[in-house]
Every structure is written in structure tokens, then in C-alpha cells.
């Protein structure tokens, strides 16, 4: 069963312009993309800064209105940009756990907001529900009357997860949920997320720039480059047998114990200019396998190997 279906979703930001002037240019942060996430699945989304992964996430929860395309959750289309309507179905866990909590509110006030606004629960009902959720994320109830600054990063992130759970969503988008945390705490949070998924029957979209973390938690991985999906495949295959040269570059760049140090590419590897996007495949300028055909037109995602898809004319074969 499909939990989330995205069809032809894209976002274009106007650049320049003012009160009485039309925008000078447009930046396509997310180019039209379509994908599906099955119920109970964890879809990992990787890409470097500027690849559009956060824009995609913000569209999925209704914080940004898409320029084109539609979002379907469990078969029901969501096309109005009312976060409250999204809130009950899809929730978001933010990258910076401390700044996602209002510094002037107690944890109880923060936890109560979704219960009150989305479900209109009464006081006693709310208290019981919060107790339940806090027990499942291993937080002590005495934390409820404290303020956010009193917590360490790992605790604050668990509060962030607890808040997302309070809305009882079907899907949770985790936007770099552990990149602000220390490694010893990172594993605690990742394992907690894995446990909660089973307990609450959730579907995850896990966004990260850390390939090893994404691989460890995901069923399937989607690789983004310059606002486009360049490769999709099962987690264990994407980095082991990368088809798209960009995925291969990512996999080769990750520091691995025991692998000698070498720069996987020595060229001037700037990202393409979003105001002046290159024709054809956006990666062609950095790609060792690029040919004139690559610049001629944008390659579509096509099946390669048994389960993988890649948008490349000259993919790696294994």
C-alpha cells in the first residue's frame, strides 16, 4: 500500500523583483519529480547542500506551496497549503533540535499544542496522551515543566520526535535529525526512531547528507542532485553498485576506515549555477563519463540492474 505518492512535484523561486517589478529570474530548486513511498517503508533522501532536499521536505508537509504537481497521502490528494490539514497526516522533525522548540514555552505547552489544535483534546485526555508518548521516547515526565534550553541536543531531539508523534501522523519527515548530535547520542536517537516506527506503524522519509547513516536506516534511497532525482534503489545496492556517476562520486568521497586518501575528483567541482542551469544532465560538467549527448537533453530515470533506477545515459555497469 502506498503511504505517500508525489507526482510531478516542483518548486520554482522567483529571484529579484520588487513591489512593482516582475521577478528578474527564477530558480528551480526542485525540478518536477515523482516517487512513491510504501507504507512502513523508510525512504532515505541524500544529496549535498543546495540539492533541494529541504525544499522538497517543506513542500511535503505543506510549509511551502509547490509550483506544480500533487501530493497524495494514502490515496487522498492534498492540494491545499493548510499545514493543519497536513499536520494530522504528516509531521516533521527538524534538524536543529533546540531551535525547533520555542525558548519561551515549557515542554508541556509545546507538547500540548498539536493535541489541542489538531485534535481538540481536553486537559485530562492531553495529559494522558503526553504521558504515553513520553514513555515511548524514554523521557522522564518531570521534563515537562522545564524550558528547552535546559536540555542537551539528544534530549531536545527526542522532545522534537515526541511532538511529531503527538499529532499521530501516518508519515514523519526526518530532516537531518541527527546531524547536530554527537555520534554516541546519534545512535540512541536512530535506534529510538527505528523502535517507534514499528510501535506506531509509521512511514519515514529520512533526509541526510551522511551516506552511512542513511544507508543504515533506509529501505530505499533516493539520490538528489541539483533538484533532480538521479538515482533510486534499495539501500544495500545504491552505494555498493552505484549506477549514476554522481552516486559513485558520493560513495567514493565518504571517508572510510582503511581506504587510502585520494580526492575522487581533482577538477574545479563547483555546483552548477542555479540562475544559469546547464543544458542536459546537470552533472555533465563534473562527470568523467560525459559525452556530447549528455548536454543535449535531460536523461530520464530508467531501470538499471534488478531494482535500481538512474537518470544517466552512460551508467556504471556491474
Amino acid at each position: 500500500m502506498t503511504a505517500l505518492k508525489v507526482d510531478d512535484l516542483s518548486k520554482t523561486f522567483p529571484v529579484g523583483g520588487g513591489l512593482f517589478r516582475a521577478p528578474k529570474a527564477a530558480v528551480r530548486a526542485v525540478r518536477p519529480m515523482s516517487f512513491e513511498v510504501a507504507k512502513g517503508e523508510t525512504l532515505g533522501i541524500v544529496g549535498e547542500s543546495g540539492c533541494g532536499k529541504s525544499t522538497l521536505a517543506r513542500m511535503l508537509v505543506g510549509l511551502l506551496e509547490p509550483t506544480t504537481g500533487r501530493i497524495e497521502i494514502e490515496g487522498k490528494p492534498l492540494d491545499n497549503a493548510d499545514p493543519a490539514a497536513f499536520g494530522k497526516l504528516i509531521q516533521y522533525v527538524f534538524q536543529d533540535p533546540v531551535s525547533s522548540l520555542n525558548p519561551r514555552k515549557t515542554i508541556r505547552q509545546i507538547m500540548e499544542a498539536p493535541l489541542k489544535r489538531l485534535y481538540g483534546m481536553g486537559r485530562a485526555e492531553r495529559a494522558a496522551r503526553i504521558r504515553e508518548i513520553f514513555a515511548s521516547v524514554n523521557l522522564r515526565e518531570e521534563f515537562l515543566d522545564r524550558y528547552p534550553h535546559e536540555f542537551s541536543g539528544g534530549q531536545a531531539q527526542r522532545i522534537g520526535v515526541a511532538r511529531a508523534l503527538a499529532a499521530a501522523p501516518r508519515i514523519i519527515i526526518l530532516d537531518e535529525p541527527v546531524s547536530a548530535l554527537d555520534v554516541s547520542v546519534q545512535a540512541q536517537v536512530l535506534n529510538l526512531l527505528a523502535d517507534l516506527k514499528g510501535e506506531f506503524n509509521l512511514t519515514y522519509l529520512f533526509i541526510s547528507h551522511d551516506l552511512a547513516v542513511v544507508e543504515a536506516v533506509s529501505d530505499r534511497i533516493l539520490v538528489l542532485y541539483f533538484g533532480t532525482v538521479v538515482e533510486v534503489g534499495p539501500a544495500e545496492e545504491v552505494f555498493k553498485t552505484p549506477r549514476h556517476p554522481y552516486t559513485k562520486l558520493l560513495a567514493d568521497s565518504a571517508p572510510v576506515v582503511g581506504r587510502p586518501l585520494k580526492a575522487p575528483e581533482q577538477k574545479d567541482s563547483e555546483l552548477p549555477d542555479p540562475l544559469n542551469p546547464p543544458p542536459g544532465c546537470a552533472f555533465a560538467g563534473r562527470c568523467p563519463r560525459a559525452t556530447p549527448e549528455c548536454v543535449a537533453e535531460v536523461p530520464d530515470l530508467r531501470p538499471l540492474g534488478e531494482h535500481q533506477l538512474a537518470a544517466c545515459i552512460h551508467p556504471h555497469e556491474y
Binding site: 509531521q91 568521497s253 575522487p264
Partner: protein
């Protein structure tokens, strides 16, 4: 609240302002209860009586009215009008500011251009125009003064709101189902309230002055009603013959405005979070060194040799032992990794080397840092400054915050070169281009003219490295130089650093939290936990045979690419706070091997010549 008052009254001028203002406020409040003469009772026979005449403590005015009585009643009125105007201006202005800042875009544009237009008029002209349109009278003067001050609040509050509106907790509130109105009232308002209070405390004095100004011109309070401005206005014609009639209200206006402004400045300083942390002074140029006990003797190890270094932060009654007895050395051409979690003291160790830890609150309380056998902690500021950059250079984590945003990167690099060598501009520029080439920045001749924001993160970090290399240092201390970068860029920067040390015999101290990075670049590695080195040895040995349970567990926490979907090992609990360390091993509360012996006494860093660990139950026998 008590802490706030304490901080406020540490500022003598603010305290003085508070005392004077409270006295005036109390007088104004109890005026109706005081046995005063009728302020409006005219007795033309008694006009222009000097102060201290019987029955008239401050004398009388041109109509023989008692000045003391008029002064107190006038003060009462002026304060009431000023405060009321400030409240109106603050509520309306803040509402406009919050709405503009929260919605942004076109709403913001339209509102703020309107506010700009209001600001384009000289304020007194605008106030006069408003009074002229509404007619003279105190209420209209109040409206005029409030209206004139709205833009000030609107602009201030909008600025703060714009910063808050982009924060993640606002998005979170939206996802929790809150509407715009509720977000503004319950999420934004509590966070801008302190700014509103500060802005009000600094403007209330002006508003009293402006109301007095309008009354002085005869547009405010109408006779016989007295406010400070109208008393002054009426006394104007007798300025020479009976100066006391002008001086008395004049002094009162001065006292009110002065005390409010002094107090307002005090409130602003006390609420400023940067000042609230206790650091009311700027950090010194060099970290304070107060070594207790003996300075360790030189042991001729390495080019840069940190010996038993202790750095602490003294914040109020708390002492944070950020670096505790850390010894580390690095040889030419060698790369030493320092690995640890946040708060483990790895960055403070690095900053202590060149006295870059902010003091206050940082204090180096023990140990030595020897460069070429000279103790840097005993060196004078001038000699230390000469060595900063020339002998030991730093590369920091975030090149965007270490480069000055308003200067071209080339000029910053030239400045770094010229700080140590008096070379002509052209020669320095040539050297800068050469450095850019050395760190593999393409088109160095044109890139040199870029501003930091025109470069990508990877390019900026290359500039950071070029700057560290500018004076051919022997040692580079790199503090998480690739943490802010993407993996593909990180790989390039690491291989660049590796080339540089091989080509130029650089000694590198590389601080990181990433075992993969350490494994690829470093020859030796030191693992830090709670301010101490818990294990040190050759990188390969430590990665394959870690001796300290912490090292072993930490490595198990790091997922490695190629492992597929799995459950990760975690270390239960949290790292300890360094102001409240348990006796014995700091890791004992999280360690599965801990015994009672681990929780008492000092545990030494022991082992072989090359591989040492601070553990009594090591994972591997070190002998």
C-alpha cells in the same frame, strides 16, 4: 528577576536613575494627598514671589499661582501623558512590526514603505501637522506624540520578528495546527516582548520631552491646566526678570528625562544576552595564564609539545575543567588527530596553544606549551603575536564566519601576509595568487577579487587554508575544517591537506569527531573524553585494537558505508558536565566494565611507548 536587578544595579548610573525616577514617581502618585495650594488659584498680588518665601516653597508664577503645587501637578500630568503615549506607540508600532515581519513579502513591503514615508517627515513637523488637524489640546498632543513614535517601534520589532519568523519553532507551531493569529500571539510575542520593553524604556523620556515641547508651543495642555511644558512656556516671557519660574520646571524635565534614559540604558544592557552571561568586559588579547604548581620541564618531544595543559572556565562559582592534564606533541610532517565529542575539550586544547581562549572566563591553570622548546604560555604578548600565523596557524570550522564579509578574499590574504612581512603590495598580491594556486583554487587571478559570499563552502575553506599557509607556518591546527562541508568537497580538502604536509613538512593537529577522517589523514590519534586524553597511539593500532572501552564503543556507534540496514550500537547516557565530574574515570557511569575501583582515585594514562590508555580494565592488554 533578582539576578536581573542585581545586574541592573551593578551599573551605578542606572541605579542613580532608578532612585531619582522612583522618587519622582512616588511624588507624582501622592500629589493629591499632599497639603498643596490649589495649582490654579490666581493671586495677582503675589506674582513672581522668589523661592523660599513663606507659604510658597518654590515661589509663584506670573499669576501668583503656587509653583510647587503647579510643578507637582504638572509632573503628574506630563508623566501620565508620556507613559500613555509610549504605551500607545509601543502597542501600535509593535503590532505593525510583528505583522510585517511575520508575513514578509508584499505585506512587509507595503507596510514598511508606509512607515518609511511617516519617517521621512521631521517628527516635530509631523506632530505639528497632526495637532493642527485635530486642534490643540492634551489628548491630541498625546495622539501626535504617539503617532510620531510608531515608526521607531515598527522598524525595531520588525527586525527582530524577521529573525524569529524564519526559525524552526514557528514552522513547528504551524504543523501543530496553529493559525497565524495564534502563532503571532503565543509564539512570536513572548519572544519579542523583551525587545519591546527595552525600546519603551529608552523612548519614554523622549515622549515626555516631545509632549512638553508641544505644550511649550501652546499646542498641548490648555490654561489653566499645568503640565511641565506649559509651565515652561508661560514662564518664557519672564525668563530674565524671574528666572526661577523657568528653572523650576526646566530642572524637573531634566531630572525626569535623564533618569529615565539612564535607567533605560541600564535595562537594555542588563537584558542583552551577551552582557547577561557575566562578561561585561571584552576578552583580553591573550588567555589569562595563572599556573599553580610547577611548570613541567622541557622533554624535547616534537616540534610543538603540549605538556600537562590545564584550561578552565571560571563562570560565577562554577569551574569548568575543559582541559585537564592534556599532553600531546606533533613532529614535522606528522598529522596528529584529536577526536572527541562536543564538550570533550578538543577545541579548547587547540585554542590554548596560542592563547586564543577568551578570557574571561578562560584561564590556563597549569602545564606548558613548548614550541621549539620555548614555553608559549610564558611568552609576552608581542612574541606570541609574532608567532601566531607565522609559526602556528589555525584553520577553523566555518570559513564563512572567519572571513570578513565586507573585504575581498584577496585583500584579507594580503593583509595576513603583510602582518608578518613588510613586503610591498604587488609582491604580497603575487604571493596571494601563488597561495591560491597552491590550494587549487581555479583562476586565482580573478578569484582573488571575490567576496566571501561569492564563493562556495569548499572554495571558502580553501581560502581559509591559504590564509593559514600565508606565512609558511610549521604547525597547522585544523579545528573541524571539513565538518561544514559536503562529502565530495571534504574529500578534496583532506587530500589537499595531506599533500601540503608531505610537500612542505607541515605538522598538523587535526581536530574532528569523525573516525573516517582520522583514519585517512592522521598518523597518530588522541581520543578525548570530558577534558582528558583517554587513549593515544598510532591510528592503525587504535582503530584495530582500541584499548579504552570508550574508544571501542564510540567507533561502534559510527555507521560505516557498506553495512546495509542495521541497528547501530549506542552508548547509554550522556557525557558528563565538566564542572561536576565524578571521581575516578569520567566514563565509568556509561561503561559496562566499570567496577568500584573505576569510581575512585586518579587513573593514569599507561601503556607502551606508543600506545597508552587511561583505563584499569582495558579492552586490550597494553604492555
Amino acid at each position: 528577576m533578582i539576578a536581573f536587578l542585581k545586574l541592573l544595579f551593578r551599573n551605578r548610573l542606572a541605579a542613580m536613575g532608578a532612585v531619582v525616577l522612583s522618587a519622582i514617581l512616588i511624588l507624582a502618585l501622592i500629589t493629591p494627598l499632599l497639603p498643596l495650594a490649589d495649582p490654579d488659584a490666581i493671586a495677582t498680588g503675589d506674582r513672581f514671589k522668589r523661592p523660599f518665601t513663606e507659604g510658597h516653597l518654590l515661589g509663584t508664577d506670573h499669576l501668583g499661582r503656587d509653583l510647587l503645587s503647579r510643578l507637582l501637578w504638572g509632573t503628574r500630568l506630563s508623566l501620565a501623558v508620556g507613559i500613555f503615549a509610549a504605551l500607545i506607540a509601543a502597542s501600535v508600532g509593535s503590532a505593525i512590526g510583528i505583522i510585517a515581519g511575520y508575513f514578509g513579502g508584499r505585506t512587509d513591503n507595503v507596510i514598511m514603505r508606509g512607515v518609511d514615508m511617516l519617517m521621512a517627515f521631521p517628527y516635530i513637523l509631523l506632530a505639528l501637522a497632526i495637532v493642527a488637524a485635530l486642534g490643540p489640546g492634551l489628548t491630541n498632543a498625546l495622539i501626535a506624540v504617539a503617532a510620531v513614535n510608531i515608526p521607531f517601534f515598527a522598524r525595531n520589532i520588525r527586525g527582530v520578528t524577521v529573525g524569529l519568523a524564519g526559525r524552526e519553532f514557528i514552522d513547528a507551531a504551524r504543523l501543530a495546527g496553529m493559525g497565524h493569529g495564534r502563532i503571532i500571539l503565543t509564539e512570536l510575542l513572548p519572544n519579542v516582548a523583551s525587545t519591546i520593553v527595552i525600546a519603551m524604556s529608552t523612548t519614554v523620556g523622549w515622549m515626555i520631552l516631545e509632549t512638553a515641547g508641544l505644550s511649550f508651543l501652546g499646542l498641548g495642555s490648555q490654561p489653566p491646566q499645568a503640565d511641565l511644558g506649559s509651565i515652561l512656556g508661560e514662564a518664557r516671557s519672564a525668563l530674565i526678570t524671574a528666572p526661577h519660574t523657568s528653572i523650576v520646571p526646566g530642572v524637573m524635565i531634566f531630572l525626569i528625562v535623564m533618569s529615565i534614559n539612564l535607567l533605560g540604558d541600564g535595562v537594555r544592557d542588563a537584558l542583552d544576552p551577551r552582557l547577561r552571561s557575566g562578561a561585561l568586559t571584552r576578552p583580553r588579547a591573550v588567555t589569562l595564564v595563572e599556573r599553580r604548581g610547577n611548570v613541567p620541564r622541557a622533554d624535547q618531544k616534537g616540534l610543538l609539545n603540549i605538556q600537562e595543559l590545564e584550561t578552565q572556565f571560571h563562570v560565577g562559582p562554577r569551574i569548568y575543567r575543559a582541559v585537564n592534564q592534556v599532553s600531546l606533541h606533533v613532529n614535522p610532517g606528522e598529522a596528529v588527530g584529536v577526536i572527541g565529542e562536543s564538550g570533550s575539550g578538543k577545541s579548547v586544547t587547540a585554542l590554548s596553544v596560542m592563547g586564543l581562549v577568551a578570557s574571561p572566563p578562560g584561564v590556563i591553570t597549569g602545564g606548558a606549551v613548548r614550541y621549539d622548546s620555548e614555553d608559549l604560555l610564558a611568552a609576552s604578548y608581542d612574541s606570541l603575536r609574532a608567532k601566531r600565523g607565522r609559526n602556528v596557524a589555525y584553520i577553523f570550522q566555518d570559513p564563512l564566519s572567519t572571513l570578513h564579509p565586507l573585504y575581498r578574499v584577496g585583500d584579507q590574504l594580503i593583509e595576513a601576509i603583510q602582518a608578518h612581512n613588510r613586503v610591498p603590495e604587488a609582491e604580497a598580491r603575487a604571493k596571494a595568487i601563488e597561495l591560491f594556486r597552491a590550494v587549487r583554487i581555479p583562476n586565482p587571478e580573478s578569484r582573488i577579487r571575490n567576496f566571501p559570499h561569492e564563493m562556495s563552502g569548499g572554495m571558502r575553506q580553501r581560502v581559509g587554508i591559504a590564509m593559514a599557509m600565508a606565512n609558511d607556518p610549521d604547525v597547522i591546527i585544523a579545528d573541524e575544517p571539513t565538518t561544514a562541508l559536503d562529502v565530495t568537497v571534504q574529500a578534496q580538502i583532506l587530500s589537499l591537506l595531506d599533500d601540503l604536509r608531505r610537500e612542505r613538512g607541515l605538522a598538523i593537529i587535526f581536530i574532528t569527531h569523525d573516525f573516517g577522517v582520522v583514519a585517512q589523514l592522521c598518523d597518530r590519534v588522541a581520543v578525548m573524553y570530558a577534558g582528558r586524553i583517554v587513549e593515544e597511539g598510532p591510528t592503525e593500532t587504535i582503530l584495530e585494537h582500541p584499548a579504552h572501552p570508550y574508544t571501542k564503543k564510540l567507533m561502534a556507534c559510527v555507521p560505516e558505508l557498506g553495512g546495509g540496514k542495521r541497528r547501530l550500537a549506542a552508548i547509554p547516557g550522556l557525557p558528563p558536565q565538566v564542572h561536576d565530574l565524578p571521581p575516578g574515570c569520567a566514563f565509568a557511569p556509561r561503561c559496562h566494565k566499570a567496577t568500584d575501583a573505576c569510581r575512585e582515585g586518579e587513573i593514569l594514562l599507561e601503556g607502551t611507548e606508543t600506545h597508552t590508555a587511561r583505563c584499569i580494565h582495558p579492552e586490550e592488554e597494553l604492555a
